[in-house]
Every structure is written in C-alpha cells, then in structure tokens.
Amino acid sequence: MSAVAGPLRVERHRRPVAGRLLGSGTVMVTVIYLLLLLVYALCQKNALSMTQFSDQLSNGLPLALAAAGGTLVVLMRGFDLSVAGVIALADVLTATHAADGQMGALLCLLMVVGVGLLVGAVNGFLVAYAGLQSIACTLATMIICSGAALLVLDAPGGSVPEFISDNLTGTLLAVPVPLIIALVVLFGWAVLRRTNWGVGLYALGADETAARLAGIPVRRVKFLAFCAAGALYGVAGMMLAAATSNGDPGAGTSYLLLVFAAIAIGGTTFTGGRGGLLGSMIGAATLLLLQKVLFSLGVSSFYTGIGQGLIMIAAVLIAAFSARLARRMPR
C-alpha cells in the first residue's frame, strides 16, 4: 500500500472486530443472502441441491460481473450507464463471431474484452480528460453501443458455439465454471486494489481534492477504472450469450437498473470511496435469489414487484444502519 493513501484507510483497520463486521457492507449483504437462502430452503424442498446452486450461478454470473464492473465506477462517485450497451454488443458478437473449440473461446474472450476496453477507454477519456459528467457521456455511449449491437444482429438469434455455451455454464472437476470465473475476477481485484491504482481509486472516491493534493494521478486512475469496468461488461455479455446460447441485441436493457440495484445492495455507497466488488457480486446473487424466494412464496405475480421493492429497500436499510451502528461503537 502506498504511503500516500495510507492514512485514509487506517481508520477502518483499527476498529474492533464486531464493528468491522457490522460496518462492512459485504458482510451485511452476505447475511441478507443467507437469510433469503434460509427462507428459500424452508419453502422449496430441493433448494440447496447442487443443480439449483449451479443454475443460479450460471444465471447470475452476467449480472454479477456487470455489477463488479459498475462498482469500479461507482467507487469514484461516477455512473456508468454504458453497461447495458456493452453487454448487448458483447452478447451479439459472441453469437455471431465466435468460433468453436478452445481457441475460439479464447479469441472470443479477447474480442469481448477488447470491445469493452474500447468503450471503457472512450468513457474514461471523456470523463477523465475531457471533463464531461459520467452519467451524460455513458448514456451516449450506451445508446451508440446498442445501435452497434443492432447492426451486428438485427433480431435475436445467431448461434453460440457449443464449446462456449456448454463449458462456461458447466463444471470443471466438479466445481461450477461460473464460480471459477467469479473467483478469478475477485482474485484479480484483490491484487489490483493493493496497487497504487486500487488505493487511488478509493482515495479519489472518498475525497477527490485530497487525493489530487496527495499526488494521486486522478485522471489516470479514473481512465483505467472505466477501462476495467468496460472489460468486465464485455465478459458479462459473453457469459450471457453462453447462458442463453443465443444473441439478443436487446439483452442489455434489463441490466441497466439491475446493476445499480446490485451495487447498492452490496453495500457500495453512491457517495464514493466505500464498498467493493465482492459485495456487489453477492448483491447480484441476492437479487436473483429474491426472484426465486418470491416465486416459492407464491406471491401473486402481479404483486411480486411490491415484495421485490420492499426487500431492496430493507436490504439497503439494514446495511446502511449496521454501518452506522458500527461507527458508534467505542474504539
């Protein structure tokens, strides 16, 4: 950890354990997830079976990856709406331009990451160097990307190579592949957040002026955050294509709001500097589990939304107020 940003984080590490646990959005969202799982297990007989778990993973991974990417931008008090566009674009590219076999999958991964990086770089440039507000220019890039997705594929279809659709949603040595992918992303994040870039990201989210004064290359940190976010959206789009085994130019739309809901439930604050990728990914899993729980509770489907809305609010409340509780604990 660089000396510059050290003082900004010290506070977190000196808290007593109980306070730290309560204060961590990630821990709270995990607790909420487990609570929901308990409810689900109570009213659905095979809720805890391996297939159920594996289904949920492959269904939830695209949202989890997209939320992970979005978190990077939210951490520095930005909004990245381009997530919907990049997912759609990566999704249709996978369904139209991927070849079969290992090599095909690898090239496809490179392609979607490349597209994501490109869009992320445009966003990053416009925000960090041209000084535009993030919500405005990512709205524009989102629209442009969804237009591009329509050009690639003008209706749902295409075909995802079987290697991608089977292996990326299957298991490797009895471990679900989506879980492996999620762990790889989390591992990468664990490494990156200890670099100057990761530390700078939190520092500038917490207080941009102070970060600038402390010598953090604010523009570069922002630029790279958008790039990394774009790359993650790209992978999310590919995973979506794998899970649905076709391409759909309109696939991104439903992700736009879900991504932000997952981030908020995951304990990342929209005022910057607090939270992390793990919380957002569990937040994504929570949202998906919520659908299942409401299904098994048999709530009349017209009114499912009411339950969904209330639980989203409840989750955020529990996380936020346990954090406040933690802050009031004696040191």
Binding site: V127, I143, S300, V316
Partner: protein, 352 residues
C-alpha cells in the same frame, strides 16, 4: 458526510443575472440554435420538413418530455436521480383515465387528485432518501417497481376508463391556429423557471445541490427540501400522464416506459450536473425540443435502425461536449466581455 465538506465547492449562487452571457444563458441558446439549424437542415431530406406545422407538432410531441424533465431536473439538481418517473407517469395516466368515467369529475379535480396521489408517493420516496438515507437510485427504483406492480395488480393488466373529450381538446382544439397545449406549455415553462430561479424554494435547492452539508449548516431544512423535490417530481410525472391520456385517449401500463432515459438525456444534455447545484430548467426544455426534433427527422431517413440509434447517441455526445462548462467561458472571452472571475469549480467540475 464530512468528506463532502472538503470536496464540494462552496455554496454560491450559480444563477446569473441577465446582464452577462453566463453559462446558464448560453446553454439554452446553443440548444435552441441547434434545434433551429436541424429543422432548417431537414429540408434537404424532405421538402415537407421544417414547415410551420412540423414545428408546431414537434412542440406538442415534446411537451410530455418537457413536463417530465422538470421534475427530473429538480431531482438531479439536488444530486439525486428519479427512476420512478415511468411508473408514476403510468399511475397518473391510469388514474386520469379511470376517474374520467367513474363520476364524470371535472378535469381540474382529477388533475388535483393525481397531483396529490403522486405527490404523496413522491414524498414517501423523498422521506426515505432524506431521513433513512437510502440512496436515491435505490429508493426511486424500488418505489417505481412497487407502484408499477400495484398498478398492474389493481388494473389486472388492462386499465379501464373513458377518454375525456375536454382533455383531448387541449390537443385537438385551436387557439389562434395553435393547439391550446402549446400555450399551456409556455406557461408551464415560465412557471417552472420562475419556481427554480426566483423563489426562495428554488434558491435553497441550488444551495442544497451545491453542498448538502453547507446547506445543513446554514440552517436550511434539508430533509423537507428533499421531500418536497421528490414530491414535485412525482407530481409532474403524474401531470405528464394526465396530458398523455388527453393526447392518446387512453392509458396503458407501459405508457411511461419510454420516458426514463429521455428524461435523463434531456436533463444532462441541458447541462444539469448529477453532482448537483448546476443547471436550469429552460436548458432541459431546449434539450427536450432538440432530442424530439432529431428523432422526428431521423425516422424519415432510410437507414438501418442500428445506424439511427448510433447517430442519436452521437448527437447526445456532441451536444454535451459542445456544452462543456468552459465553452461558454471561452465564448465569453472571445466576445470580449468583461469576464467574471473564473469559477472555483475548476476542480469540482471534474469530480465525477
């Protein structure tokens, strides 16, 4: 939060007086100019474009967006975002449509009732945001889902009611050759601008948007201001639904869906910053007109929908790039006017 004390710019009155050509005055001028240019240029595509009737039609068609954008802009002004707009617009529409039959209420009572119902729902969102500290994004998203789901359940998918002839005459009638809605919109824009710029409430919102902490320290009722803003946003979304029923003669559960992103686009293209405290309603109005004009013209161009979408995105991008904060400053300088002291926002502006 204490960080905001340091990072946020000091509260300052961002509104400019009419004397100098400040950014707040230039933005709408540039947007109106772009719109007029577009209308003129569109004659190349079809000789029927750019006529008087087309301009009148565009104003009528953009009126719903202008109304919605008013609420969205106020919310963005105080650093929030209202995602419940589509659901509340739908709710306003369903209530208007349903009440038109039930008792033959006069329009003004229906409008008032819609304002109250929507206002209460918006106030609930505002209360959650102000006092329970729920992020605006989540609070309004959840509220939107809840309202939509309740509307779906109660109507069982098919809103019932009768079209109101009086309401329809706002669009079909003619006063001095123009539909009455155009005059109403002019009044609405004037009232909205006045509320924002010339009332204590409006000034307090700018202060709150610029720095919530400073506003709190200065003794402003931050919580109540937030509640009022979200209530207002929900209420005007209801008004847009009310007007749409007049226009279309019916209500559907999806009627609000196509207004979320356009309302955000109109607000940000109009130069309002999500970091709060900057932007004017008249700019959002100009942006609504620009976006509607553009979409009218682009559908007459025979290209693939993908290209149309891409061009639409590029127009938004160009508009926000052209309206960068320092562009008006630069224009000011080149116009050789006595320049104002450079705003301290140089740092804060890139804070997103």
């Amino acid at each position: 939060m204490k960080e905001a004390l340091m990072s946020g710019p000091a509260p300052h009155d961002t509104r400019t007086t009419g004397r100098s050509l400040g950014p707040e005055a230039i933005t709408p001028l540039v947007l109106f100019g772009l719109t007029i240019l577009l209308v003129i240029a569109s004659r190349w595509i079809s000789p029927n474009l750019g006529g008087f009737h087309q301009v009148a039609a565009i104003i009528v068609l953009s009126s719903f967006l202008m109304v919605v954008a008013f609420g969205q802009q106020m919310v963005v002004l105080i650093g929030g975002l209202d995602l419940s707009v589509p659901s509340l617009l739908t709710l306003g529409g369903i209530l208007t449509f349903g009440w038109s039959t039930a008792s033959g209420w006069s329009l003004i009572w229906i409008l008032l009732a819609v304002l109250v119902v929507n206002g209460v729902i918006g106030a609930l969102s505002g209360a959650g945001i102000a006092w329970l500290r729920i992020p605006p994004f989540i609070m309004t998203l959840a509220m939107g889902i809840i309202v939509y789901s309740a509307a779906l359940g109660i109507t069982a998918g098919t809103p019932r009611g009768h079209p109101s002839a009086a309401l329809a005459s706002l669009f079909t009638g003619r006063i001095l050759g123009l539909p009455p809605i155009i005059y109403l919109m002019i009044l609405f824009v004037i009232a909205g601008t006045a509320l924002q710029s010339y009332t204590p409430f409006g000034r307090k919102l700018y202060a709150l948007g610029t720095s919530p902490v400073a506003a709190h320290v200065a003794g402003l009722p931050v919580g109540w201001l937030t509640v009022a803003t979200y209530a207002l946003s929900a209420a005007v979304a209801g008004v847009a639904g009310f007007l749409l029923v007049g226009y279309a003669g019916g209500a559907t559960l999806v009627m609000g869906q196509s207004y979320l992103l356009p309302s955000i686009a109109a607000v940000v293209v109009g130069g309002t910053s999500i970091l709060g405290g900057r932007g004017t309603y008249i700019s959002a109005v100009a942006a609504s007109l620009l976006l509607t004009t553009f979409s009218t013209i682009i559908s007459s161009v025979q290209i693939l929908e993908g290209w149309r979408t891409i061009i639409y995105g590029c127009v938004i991008l160009i508009a926000i790039a052209a309206l960068r904060e320092d562009l008006p400053l630069w224009l000011n300088r080149s116009l050789q006017r006595p320049s104002r002291p450079p705003p301290q926002a140089a740092n804060a502006q890139s804070a997103q």
